[in-house]
Amino acid sequence: MKKIYISCLLFLPLFMSAQTDIDGIMMSKNNFCVGAVYQHSSWDEYWEGSFKRTNLNLGTVTTQSVAVMGNYGVSDKLNVIFSAPYVETNASAGTMKGQKGVQDLSLTLKYMPIEKTIGKATYSVYALGSFSAPLSNYPADYLPLSLGSQSKTAVLRIMGDYQRENFFSTISGAYIKRANITIDRNSYLTDEVHYTNEVDMPDAVSVNFRAGYRSNRLIAEFVIDNWVTQAGGFDITKNNMPFPSNTMNALKYGVNAKYTFKKIPELSLVGGYNYVVEGRNVGKSDAIYGGIFYVINFKKATN
């Protein structure tokens, strides 16, 4: 068994609402890893459909967030993960007022049914099921400065991990089912005007690949993530406003690192950078994040 005594969250922030713990690491039984992550993400270019442009009436759009996250090892093979971010948005130009508030709670069950070591290589397979729901009634129909989409989501992700000595690669694919949302208008335009305050949110598929170095003390990896909206989305038309059910695609590249202190092995630092390479109806954002995590072993405490 791949013994990583203190493993903690390494995640790829994509859309704030879609963070899941999609690394090939499990928390050991009765360990609870808890921490906070700050993220700064900004863009001044965005894609209106496939047309890349700036908008001098927005300037640079910045999203800052602080998320509380935790991961509990129910067993070595089953983890429960949560995250809840506080988000603040701002546009550097124009008159539009930024928003701030608590965004969505996400809960994930991460299960590792298969782990096999053949020679020096360890193969493992994971299944992750997530559910997320908004924690406050922030307006969703306030793009690009809304805090989130208000959509309840269910994610099923299947993941495979391969590790040989200290080098690893992980690939995963997920289907994101998104519930209809309610907006503050009673009609809206997609291709035609719809007379309802309910919006059908298109589902999405996400594929994530990551590889790098992984040891008990240090993890360093690069990540490629591709998020593709499924049927039902539509493009922002020329010089129009964005809408929650727009198609939003993003191909991201990024790097993540985690360092665990030698003297205090319960404590670790995480950090990373990622950027959107190619997108559709999304900002070409650059994001950096950093966080701190602490592991509490409940078994030790009670024994």
């Binding site: 442009r53 001098l56 009436n57 129910v74 067993s75 093979k77 089953l78 130009a93 124009g94 008159t95 539009m96 007022k97 930024g98 069950l109 299960y111 049914p113 299944a127 992750l128 099921g129 997530s130 559910f131 009634n137 307006p139 129909d141 306030y142 309840k152 989501t153 269910a154 099923l156 089912k177 998104r178 519930a179 209809n180 907006i183 503050d184 208008r185 009673n186 009609s187 809206y188 335009l189 035609e192 005007v193 719809h194 007379y195 309802t196 309910e198 919006v199 059908d200 039902g232 038309t237 020329k238 010089n239 129009n240 406003m241 809408f243």
Partner: protein, 518 residues
């Protein structure tokens, strides 16, 4: 132990996903799918005598007498209906369900979609100037039109007024020729919509389709294929449902087209084409205001965009003379140097700072900005949903929509007249720390367009459906307040706008009392 964990994990994962998938049922029922088939409580048999807008008389355009229902030619037309009905498809049934709610209603909805699709300001040129949409070259960038609120108000008014005139003419000929509906002629014929004793020739849907299509081609030239598709559906609906034979519909389309031409000719000379102004006029607005010692409006957009349709106040109204426009003009707004102004600016700033969820809901609900059917479209939606419960005949639907939309076009004319008479700044221009929760429209503040449109719409609708006047009033007030909550308008803009709207709305009400329909 191990097994039970495995089981729990699997079960939880699957249960979680299934529960979510189930709760994420995507089915949405839209309000306009719920309208029932039109079944007028009064067929308005004498509507052929109602007052028209542009037609000199209801028979200004001649319509040939139909063939008698006893002829073999007519029987063949009945057979056409029967042959369609024998192999009716689900798609055809849904077309019938859609259109049977009423032609005026559905064309009004279609138009709201067209307005919303084209309500987008032009994207700037590389050099920071803006291209203007051109009716002569509608497919260029930017496409024609930019259906902003004044354009939309005028468009809704032309279509509604033309529909009213066309249906009054149709009712005239219905009474004159008195040709029965196919289901009355052939009692064995199935009819898929409520029966009516109204004579069938010419078909009201034919007339509506003929007149509306021609006007929409003028107003939304890039959408002709879409518009034609809708017209074909409407025609098919009348025939398949057994409501009309083909010659009822064709005669209606022909008549409608001729009437449209009269409105198209008026539109060419009503001054809307010149409303965009010229760089000289834009500069002059600024210097005239500065000469008065007031702070002139400047665009808050980047790059600075020319003011929206500065000469729209000069567009020729259906009900107001230019003298009436001047006489209705509100008094000047508080001077930017006055104490009153400082007080109002401070109030806007307070709204800008408050984080009230209720306020942002109201702001969003009434925003009706870029990519929407505009405030006049919003009031058309409110009117349509109200009228749908009143069991009006098509001709009364058209008459009521025309009153509403002509009043809102007058609201646009009078409001734009005030805006460019006073050319005053928006709150964020006077205090750049004022952040807004909706876009700042690119034209002067005084008076608020939303307030003027809402005041006019409320006045007309309250006259038409008095039982709901309290509800219209509170909606108009909320629409007006929303602009203060959003921090884009001063209190004076909103209050004086509502009053101006009421003033112009009353011109339409006066007409309503003398048009023969009441």
């Amino acid at each position: 132990m191990k097994n039970s964990i495995t089981k729990t994990a699997y079960t939880s994962l699957i249960a979680l996903f299934l529960a979510c998938t189930y709760s994420c049922s995507d089915e949405i029922t839209e309000r306009n799918q719920e309208f029932h088939a039109l079944n007028p409580s009064n067929i308005d048999a004498l509507a052929g005598t109602w007052k028209t807008y542009l037609l000199t008389t209801p028979d200004e355009f001649p319509l040939d007498a139909p063939v008698a229902t006893t002829t073999p030619a007519y029987t063949r037309e009945i057979n056409e209906i029967k042959s369609y009905q024998a192999s009716i498809t689900e798609e055809q049934k849904s077309i019938i369900k859609y259109w049977s709610a009423g032609g005026v209603l559905r064309w009004n909805e279609i138009m709201r979609t067209l307005v919303a699709r084209h309500n987008r300001p032009p994207y700037q040129n590389e050099d920071g100037t803006y291209p203007a949409p051109s009716a002569a070259n509608p497919f260029a960038n930017p496409q024609f039109p930019f259906s902003n609120p004044p354009f939309a108000a005028r468009a809704y008014a032309y279509v509604s007024a033309a529909q009213a005139d066309a249906l009054i003419a149709a009712w005239h000929y219905k009474k004159l020729y008195n040709r029965a509906a196919p289901y009355t002629v052939d009692t064995n014929l199935q009819v898929l919509i409520p029966k009516s004793t109204l004579p069938a020739y010419p078909s009201e849907d034919g007339v509506l389709s003929g007149v509306t299509v021609e006007l929409l081609k003028l107003l939304f030239p890039t959408e002709i294929a879409y518009i034609d598709g809708k017209a074909d559906e409407e025609k098919l609906y009348r025939i398949i449902s057994g409501a009309n034979v083909r010659s009822d519909v064709e005669a209606g389309i022909g008549l409608g087209r001729k009437i449209a031409a009269k409105f198209i000719a008026r539109a060419a000379t009503d001054g809307a084409g010149a409303a965009i102004g010229t760089p000289e006029i834009w500069a002059q607005l600024e210097s005239t205001t500065a000469a008065k010692g007031e702070t002139p409006w400047i665009s808050l957009e980047s790059p600075k965009r020319p003011p929206m349709l500065p000469l729209f106040g000069k567009v020729k109204s259906f009900l107001m003379t230019p003298e009436m426009v001047v006489a209705s003009r509100p008094v000047a707004p508080p001077s930017t140097k006055s104490e009153q102004f400082a007080k109002e600016l401070a109030e806007v700033k307070a709204f800008s700072k408050d984080a009230s969820k209720d306020h942002i809901k109201i702001v969003t609900f009434w925003a009706d900005g870029v990519g929407t059917y505009t405030p006049p479209g919003h009031w058309n939606a409110i009117a349509a949903e109200t009228f749908a419960t009143q069991d009006y005949s098509e001709v009364r639907w058209a008459r009521n929509m025309a009153l509403l939309n002509i009043a809102m076009m007058d609201a646009a004319i009078s409001c734009w007249d005030a805006k460019y008479t006073y050319f005053n700044p928006r709150p964020s221009q006077m205090d750049s720390s004022i952040k807004t929760t909706t876009g700042v429209p690119n034209f002067p503040a005084y008076v608020s367009g939303h307030s003027t449109f809402s005041g006019a719409a409320c006045t007309v609708l309250s006259h038409i459906v008095p039982s709901q006047s309290e509800s219209f009033k509170s909606m108009a007030k909320q629409a007006s307040d929303s602009r203060m909550f959003g921090a884009i308008h001063y209190r004076s803009d909103c209050e004086k706008g509502l009053i101006l709207g009421e003033t112009v709305g009353n011109f339409a009400v006066t007409r309503a009392t003398t048009d023969g329909a009441e």
